[in-house]
Symmetry: C2
């Protein structure tokens, strides 16, 4: 809570982000450098995210489990590219119970290795496949530059780990999870995403193929929303995950992993927020509607609260997440600003006149000022509120999609490319070479975000396929890629 004005996004997007995270009490800095405390308001948001995803994971046949936090150091070393990727980021436990350990343990940076070890024990025959397990937990990666939600030493996430009998099934699972995440992104987070394939340089340490969803933030930069990895037989071979097939032949499994983290909270902030603060999509918002009672005299207070409480009850009974602001000693105007800053999608204002007229004022967070205000009769309020929330949900997605489209350019040459990545995404032919990718990064700070699965970005169904010239080297190219500066 603070009356100081937020820095505007145009002034300093990054500073705006930091301010809004702390002032809205989503998170706080921990005493250990780079760690994060997720405060109740932020955690309520994360709980809604987890519920929406967990339900989708279970509907697609996955079950949850819990694997240990501590992994023997030697496990990480069993898969060659995995160790190369994660070694520099490990937190190492050397002492336990007052004594030095014989073998140091690492705090999991991700769980492919310890899960691979278990799967090797649990999987015997084709009857045990597919094995489809997810876990919700936190992992630790020793990052140097950290920011709340976007990159922290410890972060919260889910990691799915599956084992299959064939390469095709593993690829189908990997792609299925891309679809599951996309559905979540669009329908829950109201964030338009571009599903695509990562380059060799950007893929997960140990994966054959990494898919990601890329989203555009309010400053035009990209954020990787989540990833889904086809691990081929890399971990199955490193950990001897094998099964007897129907013919009695011993085969290595094919495995996948996929994850989404608290980074998504950062995405929600940066996609939807405005200069007044946060705007949460109704389906994920900790509070979907806040009721602010307005009164001057004690008599008015009694009347207004009576009606306000009744409305609160009606809305709550209809399954809505309602906050009643009963704080004393604060003006309605202060409360309006405070809840706007905190991103509550809808505000119900109720004064003595509204009570007398049997109505209330509803103010939409996504449309500031009079444009977003409607007067509604109290009877049928719950249905009207539910309808408004649905409108807001759709409007946020539409706005974000329009913003991304407006800032996505198909550059004709490298000159246009350089301008495009100053403010948004460049969508262009790329030869697939790491050299071009590396040079582009050096010269423009833009990285290869993904090769979109839909080569038309959904804009032009006839635009897929074909070929062109690489935006950098002008050699023949068969696929278009998204390049952007990224979080």
């Amino acid at each position: 809570m603070s009356e100081r004005k937020l820095t505007t996004r145009a002034e300093d997007f990054s500073e705006w982000y930091n301010q809004v995270v702390v002032r809205a009490e989503l998170a706080d800095y921990a005493p250990v450098r780079g760690c994060m405390i997720v405060r109740p308001y932020g955690w309520a948001l994360w709980e809604n995210i987890t519920a929406a995803l967990d339900q989708r994971f279970k509907a697609t046949g996955h079950v949850n489990a819990a694997f240990p936090l501590l992994i023997p150091r030697s496990f990480i070393e069993k898969e060659k590219s995995h160790v190369a990727g994660f070694s520099p980021e490990l937190a190492v436990v050397t002492h336990g119970g007052g004594e030095e350990l014989e073998e140091p343990l690492v705090i999991r940076p991700t769980s492919e290795t310890i899960i691979g070890h278990s799967y090797a024990k649990w999987i015997q025959s084709y009857r045990d496949l597919p094995l489809l397990i997810n876990q919700w937990n936190s992992v630790v990666r020793w990052e140097l530059r950290t920011r709340l939600f976007l990159r922290t030493l410890e972060f919260f996430w889910q990691e799915g780990h599956t084992a299959h009998a064939t390469a095709d099934e593993a690829e189908a699972e990997t792609r299925q999870m891309v679809d599951v995440y996309s559905d979540f992104a669009v329908h829950e987070a109201a964030i338009p995403v571009i599903p695509g394939r990562k380059s060799e340089a950007e893929k997960f340490a140990g994966a054959e193929i990494t898919y990601s969803l890329e989203a555009m933030m309010g400053d035009g930069k990209a954020l990787q929303f989540c990833t889904s990895h086809n691990l081929g037989q890399n971990f199955a071979k490193a950990f001897e995950i094998r099964y007897l097939d129907k013919n009695g032949v011993l085969q290595h499994c094919w495995t996948t992993s996929w994850g989404l983290s608290t980074r998504v909270v950062g995405a929600l902030i940066m996609v939807h927020g405005d200069d007044q603060g946060l705007i949460f999509p109704p389906r994920l918002a900790p509070y979907q509607i806040v009721i602010v009672p307005i009164f001057k005299t004690d008599d008015e207070k009694i009347t207004v609260f009576e009606t306000a409480r009744r409305l609160q009850r009606e809305l709550t009974d209809a399954g809505l997440r309602v906050k009643m602001d009963e704080r004393e000693g604060m003006s309605p105007g202060f409360k309006f600003n405070d809840w706007e800053m905190r991103g509550v999608p809808l505000r119900l204002e109720l004064g003595p006149k509204d009570v007398a007229k049997g109505s209330a004022v509803l103010a939409r967070r996504d449309r500031p000022g009079k444009e977003g205000k409607v007067f509604l009769p109290q009877p049928g309020m719950a249905a009207a509120v539910a309808g408004l929330l649905e409108d807001i949900q759709k409007a946020l997605h539409r706005r974000a999609l329009e913003f991304r489209r407006a800032r996505t350019v198909e550059p004709a040459d490298y000159g246009e490319f350089k301008k495009a990545v100053e403010v948004g995404f460049a969508f262009c032919w790329w030869c697939g070479g790491s050299d071009c990718e590396e040079k582009i990064k050096e010269e423009t700070k833009a990285t290869m975000r993904c090769i979109p699965l839909d080569q038309s970005l959904g804009a032009n169904p006839t635009g897929s396929g074909g070929s062109g010239e690489c935006v950098y080297c002008r050699q023949p190219a068969k696929e278009k890629a998204i390049f952007a500066r990224a979080y």
Copy 2:
């Protein structure tokens, strides 16, 4: 899954426990000594436990948050008795990102210290109180002797941490949580519990008062179901958690903490299980009912599955957790035994004759053999199943309560006491002295479990109050205590 017979509880209770945990696939041993993998079936049970508790915590005004895993070593040292209690059990991170850390970090053994640090920042005035936060996470304590669920290096739990303006409010919160846990124990876990006060020797390191719920396991030993601590101003003073009261005077807060862990899974196993394996109370069971289709010919299979699927749908639609056993190549008898071992409270058997008659056989897990079987018509099956599940829930609690009563003795002298703690609880006058407590432990292995809040154990409303002679030293005693050997 295994056709070997379980060791019986009478033969070796401890071995029975280990076998049933592993064979029912509740948990597995991790590669790191003393750590545990909670497998999907065990985690589904834990998810039901967390949901039942979380709903109760929220209904009593608590919110969830997430505090970091890593705590500076120096934090643990700020509260004198806390450091004495936890120092020997710490896991210490000395290296991060390839470098030695300036200050070692510990993996949280519990979060009073890091939360105290945050509360000191967040709490300014009486308006910020009470602060009522819970978190679901895992903690690490370097235990030497470990057993799955009962004592593991890493375990899963919730830890509530609250701050209050007055001593009375803190005590009321501490006691409220005892009630919340008791309600959960009785109505969800079907486990009768004895709420009571811990001795000085047994209380939490840093608490003024520790309350616990004590339950009797199937071998007569006690298990501490959960704890609730009144921390007084100990942590508030160590971490400077202060608030300005209404008169503008700076005061230290009063804090509490309370927790319940995956040990409770161990309690569910040991309270309800029998020689056939697990018996889960319906309200927490991962599957409440398993459907086993019975057929010989392909034609029968088609008919039986058609009806089985319809019943599955009806039961699922009624909000029940249903498992259909479609496994091939296993006899119905094998499946019956398998699901009995896994503790599913109700089994629905459906064969061609049942289909023809429009009925089905329901078999209760808590009553073996014919006694527990009923034939029911298919119409109205969901309501009948719900009713049966409620009966089973109550029957399990009743049985456990009768068992505990039968094995709880009020010994007239120390001779009787020694016999009582061989098989169950001794409920007796105790002078309150640590010497007697210590001697009793040395001589009988029984520890002071708690001084029951209800000094009649609910059996005799007029039995409270009064005084007697300490069972050990025969000095005057004002309170009765429960002594027992314990997990």
